[in-house]
Amino acid sequence: MAITKVVMPKLSEAMETGKIIKWLKKEGDRVQGGDILAEIETDKADVEMEAFGAGVLRKILVSAGEKAPVGTLIGVIAEPAEDIAAALASAPAPAVAAGAGAASSARKDTRPEAAPVPPTAPAPGQPLRPAVVSTPAPAVPAVSAGAVGIPAPALTASTAVATGRVKASPLAKKIAAQTGVDLRLIRGSGRIIRRDVEAATPATVTVATAPVTVAAAPVTAPIVPGVEYEDRPLSQIRAAIARRMPLSKAPVPHFYVTSEVAMDRAWELREELNALEGQPKISVNDFVVRACALALLKHPGVNASFQGESIRVWHRAHIGIAVALEDGLITPVLRDSHAKSLAQIAVEARDLAERARARKLRATELSGATFSISNLGMYDVTEFSAIINPPEGAILAVGSVRRVAVVDDAGLGVGRRMALTLSCDHRVMDGAMGARFLQDVKRLLEEPLRLLV
């Protein structure tokens, strides 16, 4: 019989550690595959962990109430006569991030494990690296990106595949991707279908829940009679934001780097370009996208995702552009921004934004960003800082281009200035790296002809 290592399962994209609420089996108990071994508390939900192998639960390494990083060995299942010393020896070193199976299952395994996406040949011009570099992964189905979050591949040449494939209808996957529902946490009847996903989305209780209003007590409010407050039901998108943002802010250690950019030359260049007949109108944001795309290629460390056991460095810049909607925010992805001219960026970004507002984006256009930009310039915002959208490593917050008094060698004058604030994931990069990237973005915008060549 095989020895089965029980590891802390990765149950969501953002999950780093899990806490054992309680063990339902104790050392010495006989277990069958499918038995519930323990209850685990994750960032999202309490989940039952199933046993994969059969045998006796020989050893519990992390006891109830304790936390363990994803992938850590937390128990061993084996036959009584088997020597589990070797398995226990691996205890301190976290095992390969285990793929969760269906809704709730910890993956054990003495068989080799592997990456969800089989390593493929590197893209042309991309050097082979010791760490596994897959060819651009954003092309994988949306569901395997953000929303479903198949466990990070920690891989070596000898590791093999162990993905927990979730069976869901295409429509269910699309809706889950749009609302941020983790399909692995849903139990469907066989195949997960739309109604299962909607049942798992609290906000879908759209049964015309009229806003609950409360009248002010007449005694205490003689001045302004009428309604004191109302409780508005969450829209789906609002609920998704409410669910996802804490999953970023809490586990991702943010730090911020701010810089001010002289936009005089970019402004002039933009006016010149926009005066050209037959050319698409270019926005300040298009300049910022182009500058970031070029800078990301030069600073791939910023174009990176934390993966628990490794950092995935992207060699293509898929830039998410935040678009405000009436009831929320959506971030369509401008793929391969680094390979696009300013005019292409302008045309595609406008198309994405328009379709975002019309809710006509395809799910694939909403996932796979490697970096994001949020621009509040049109609202006369001096500067602000944005929350990183995991698994991206950074997001750039763009303020308004303001006319301000500037002092230079010629004395006092009027110039155009714009504040940029980069939010960085400290697990992926440090202050200096973020600052160097920002410095490059600033230089590209201040010498804007660089954006054209």
Partner: protein
């Protein structure tokens, strides 16, 4: 609008087109003196004379070939197959001559012929006379294939078929000839080829069916409405060219699709529709596309076995419940 039978609607379409255009003529076995094996050509000989209502020997390949030749030379023949099963004898004329003439002559010769007659399962016509013959034709580039479900469609589509410059395979049904329905008497009323119709609006599942299967699907939809399942019924009417847009639009709305066809399912219309639904609406599907088809067997003569071979209302309803996850599964 007048109420008339499917048979009368076809007769009216022929009459109107023959009056409108002197190049239109009908030809086939028993179409003249006997006024048609199924009386579709009733009264035509009397009105239009033996030059335009031509009785032929029992020789499908020969008279189909004559029709194709006449079409190439500028006439608009309507060739009747006593039943469409007999068109197998004329398959070479239809597939190799009619369908390809325009292409192989570099566009010099079009073949504006209509080949019409009843097909599909009927009432105890047995293995050789019950076949869903459309499958033999819609695979062929160059042919248009029509299957009209209602009297109105029979009239409007036959008139369009006669006016079309391409060879059109127009397959009616023995069991539908006596079906009555409203039919516009306006001689200018036509239904363009290639347009599907939503016969019933619904929200939970799209059922695609035509001819007798559409009538059974309607019964199934009535039954399911009582269970709270809202069925949308789409009738393609023309199988080639197929109105993909209407079907996809409906599936995008309901997120589920069931295709019903009388013939055996392998490489049938259901396969084709399932394929393009998957290609065009994959992300909108909440369930796999289901097919309800005739059994993979020749049609038995015995009434009880014939019933088993053909999709029933109950089989259609069961498939709809399955895709709607309404079986408690």
């Amino acid at each position: 609008m007048a109420v008339m039978t499917y048979r009368e609607a076809l007769n009216l379409a022929l009459r109107e087109e023959m009056r409108r255009d002197p190049s239109v003529f009908v030809m086939g076995e028993e179409v003249g003196l006997y006024e048609g094996a199924y009386k579709v050509t009733q009264g035509l000989l009397k009105e239009f004379g033996p030059k335009r209502v031509v009785d032929t020997p029992i020789a499908e390949s020969a008279f189909t070939g004559i029709g194709i030749g006449a079409a190439v030379l500028g006439l608009r023949p309507v060739v009747e197959m006593m039943t469409f099963n007999f068109a197998l004898l004329a398959l070479d004329q239809i597939v190799n001559s009619a369908a390809k003439m325009f292409y192989m002559s570099g566009g010099q010769y079009s073949v504006p012929i209509v080949i019409r007659g009843p097909g599909g399962p009927a009432a105890q016509l047995a293995a050789q006379h019950s076949q869903s013959m459309e499958v033999y034709f819609y695979h062929v580039p160059g042919l248009k294939v029509v299957r009209p479900t209602t009297p109105m469609d029979a009239k409007g589509l036959l008139k369009s078929a006669i006016r079309d410059d391409n060879p059109v395979i127009f397959i009616e049904a023995e069991t539908l000839y006596p079906v009555k329905g409203e039919v516009p008497e306006d001689p200018d009323f036509v239904i363009p080829l290639g347009q599907a119709i939503v016969r019933r609006e619904g929200t939970d599942v799209t059922v695609i069916a035509y001819m007798g299967m559409m009538y059974r699907a309607m019964e199934a939809a009535d039954e399911l409405a009582k269970e709270g399942i809202s069925v949308e019924l789409v009738d393609p009417r023309t199988l080639r060219p197929m109105d993909v847009e209407t079907i996809i639009g409906s599936v995008r709305k309901t997120h589920r699709a069931v295709v019903v066809e009388a013939g055996a399912g392998f490489a049938g219309m259901g396969s084709e529709i399932a394929a393009f639904v998957t290609e065009h609406a994959f992300d909108d599907l909440d369930a796999p596309v289901e097919r309800v088809t005739g059994a993979n067997a020749p049609m038995p003569y015995a009434r009880n076995l014939e019933k088993l071979k053909t999709p029933s209302k109950d089989k259609i309803a069961a498939a709809i419940r399955r895709v709607c996850n309404a079986n408690g599964s």
